[in-house]
């Protein structure tokens, strides 16, 4: 990163000069440099759970354990009652919500790799599809219940993650991304060609998870998955493992000489994030009831990636939050302008481009710099949870 900065100094300077003229950016810049690390070190180093402190409520303990802030918790509660609030009680909106929650969960798993060890797993959708196929084939050929199938799918995808993690070990940056991309392409090719097993592009019809027309059970299932995955990922990155992730993501040599075994952490990261994708793939298959190799397509990864990046990388929650409005806007445009097919994609592309140019930090960055630290104490508690005395 430093290198790139050096590469274009004239431009950089120009923009810096611009910022210099406006006091607003000056402030934000300052708060930026302060903020980023504080929240990190707070999260990791200074657990609020110190013995003997009496002022901590059960809620705080709960929040600390699950990695939520009060506002986040409120969001989850909102999601839980969503199917009963008009207009969201309509089946088709529920269908969108399910898709949004699915993408949200995917983005959590994706960000777990991209945002922490700094490797974009470009074959993420393929891994997801792999899990879906595993579970579906088990259900179809062996009559296995989707509940177990999904878990086996997750396990199977975890093995895949292990392999990707192993083979991409010596690669960095864009090379590792390409490797996982090619891996995904090969996987998709296999799904296309192994017709006897997957029915290829003909589409594998999969038993649905709940034999009901209603979307509600699926909705709750995906929300549970989303929340569980978030808590799990958050728990991992808050632990010392997260520190190791960041270290190997930012400087492999320095991390190694500091005693971090990159093989273990990298492979662990891939394994976990791929396992999550596999589980989600199983859900996807048993919800939409049909699988084609198309689910493994790069464009699916791109969709997840766009959500994760617009949400803000390295935050886990950014993508999960932004997925809902994002998918909704896209779907509304698509369904109202169905005579102009692709217009929603044009808008989505322009949105992605604008965000990347003008706000590459994404939503979580915006939130952290502009919303997170209001003067009002109660509001601050609401947004951040209990703060440590140290900060």
């Amino acid at each position: 990163m430093e290198n790139i900065q050096k590469r274009q100094p004239v431009n950089t300077e120009k923009s810096r000069e611009k910022e210099n003229n406006s006091s607003i950016s000056k402030e934000s810049n300052q708060s930026l440099s302060k903020k980023g690390n504080q929240s990190l070190s707070k999260e990791r180093n200074q657990s609020i759970l110190k013995e003997g402190d009496q002022s901590i409520s059960t809620l705080d303990v709960f929040l600390e354990k699950t990695g939520f802030t009060p506002v986040g918790l409120l969001g989850v509660i909102l999601l839980l009652i969503m199917p009963f609030i008009p207009p969201f009680n309509q089946e088709y909106l529920l269908r969108w919500l399910i898709y949004a929650a699915f993408i949200a969960a995917m983005s959590v798993g994706f960000d777990f790799t991209a945002g922490y060890i700094n490797i974009v797993n470009f074959g993420y959708a393929a891994v997801m599809g792999y899990g879906g196929y595993t579970s579906s084939i088990l259900a179809i050929n062996l009559g296995l219940t989707p509940w177990i199938g999904i878990l086996i799918g997750g396990l199977n995808s975890a093995i895949l993650g292990l392999i990707i993690g192993m083979i991409s070990l010596r690669l960095r940056g864009i090379f590792a991304a390409c490797l996982s991309w090619f891996f995904g392409l090969a996987l998709m090719g296999l799904a296309t060609k192994l017709v006897w097993l997957t029915r290829g592009p003909l589409g594998l019809r999969v038993p649905r998870m709940f034999a009901t027309e209603s979307n509600i059970p699926f909705y709750y299932l995906v929300i549970i998955l989303l929340v569980a995955m978030y808590i799990l990922c958050k728990w991992v990155v808050k632990s010392k493992i997260g520190l190791a992730f960041q270290a190997i993501g930012q400087n492999m040599d320095a991390a190694r000489t500091s005693g971090i075994n990159p093989v273990f952490y990298r492979v662990f990261n891939f394994t976990l994030s791929c396992a999550l994708a596999g589980i989600l793939g199983g859900f996807y298959a048993h919800y939409y009831a049909i699988l084609t190799p198309e689910v493994m397509h790069t464009s699916k990864t791109v969709e997840v990636l766009a959500v994760a990046y617009i949400g803000g990388r390295g935050s886990l929650w950014g993508g999960a939050v932004i997925a809902f409005p994002f998918i909704f806007i896209m779907e509304i445009i698509r369904s109202t302008l169905s005579n102009l097919p692709g217009l929603n994609l044009i808008i989505y592309a322009m949105l992605l481009i604008l965000v990347m140019i003008y706000y590459p930090g994404g939503f979580s960055y915006f939130f952290d710099t502009h919303i997170r630290k209001p003067k009002n104490k109660a509001l601050r508690y609401f947004l951040n949870g209990r703060e440590t005395s140290a900060s």
């Binding site: 980023g36 930012q250 320095a254 000489t257 500091s258």
Partner: protein, 261 residues
């Protein structure tokens, strides 16, 4: 007699060689580092000093030869294992974790470089390290905002955080003014005071002469001298190859090697 000598030996290399394609960057270098040593590694640019360190610490494993650390053959072990065994290093071009705060950068080594459970309070330990190297900035500053000199301090703190027995320093003092050299000298003395042996690559003879007790000089990847600092510094081979004359280096070096054999 022999035994006691062995105890004193911290690190040994035997015929350590590293080749890049056709180029032999380090050529059969054997050396010994004793407990309490501050050994200076000198040599012209491109002599293979950094490569030598990389080969020992495992970042760029040697092509042949052995590394023996406290009597154990550690050749080719990956850097993370070396770190846990007690070998730390800083980088010539310091490269900490750009998006981490200073304290977090140090914490990585505190947490992962020490046997699990030995450090009760990693934050306090890391903070101590920063204080130890007299890190001039707030511990919350993000690494990418530091300048080279500050980065070097941070890198040193990181290297020390894993409680090493041997510390390799690659051009820690480059770019420092004479006044600042005094500070770094003090820190180096403090490090030795903790019983850590040091092998430092440095071009600033002033510093070398001030803090080192022994010197190792290599040229074209080949060792040309090793021993007490004054001995080496006054060795005509060293003065010719490194400190002085400006004649055709390569021929001279070959002659020297020939003379040696």
């Amino acid at each position: 007699m022999k035994d006691t000598a062995n105890i004193m030996i911290v690190l040994e290399t035997k015929n350590l060689t590293k080749q890049f394609g056709g180029l032999t960057a380090v050529n059969a270098v054997s050396m010994t580092l004793y407990k309490g040593d501050v050994m200076g590694l000198i040599g012209p640019n491109g002599a293979g000093k950094t490569t030598f360190i990389n080969a020992i610490t495992g970042l760029n494993p040697p092509t042949s030869g052995d590394v023996i650390f406290f009597g154990e053959n550690t050749t080719g072990l990956p850097p993370e294992k070396m770190c846990r065994k007690g070998i730390s290093r800083t980088f010539q071009i310091p490269s900490p974790f750009p998006k981490m705060s200073a304290i977090e950068s140090v914490m990585t080594a505190t947490v992962f470089g020490n046997p699990p459970g030995t450090i009760k309070d990693p934050v306090a330990h890391s903070r101590k390290m920063l204080e130890f190297v007299e890190f001039p900035m707030s511990e919350d500053v993000i690494s990418e905002q530091l300048n080279t000199v500050q980065l070097k301090r941070l890198d040193l703190a990181r290297a020390l955080a894993s409680n090493p027995k041997v510390l390799f320093m690659d051009e820690m003092a480059s770019g420092l003014s004479e006044g600042e050299l005094l500070d770094i000298m003090k820190i180096i003395r403090k490090i030795t005071g903790q019983g850590i042996s040091i092998l430092m690559v440095e071009h600033i003879m002033q510093l070398i002469m001030a803090v080192c007790n022994r010197l190792l000089c290599i040229q074209f990847g080949t060792k040309i001298a090793e021993g007490p600092k004054d001995e080496v510094a006054n060795d005509p081979k060293v003065t010719k190859a490194y400190l002085g004359s400006n004649t055709d280096e390569k021929n001279k070096a070959e002659e020297l090697v020939a003379e040696d054999n």
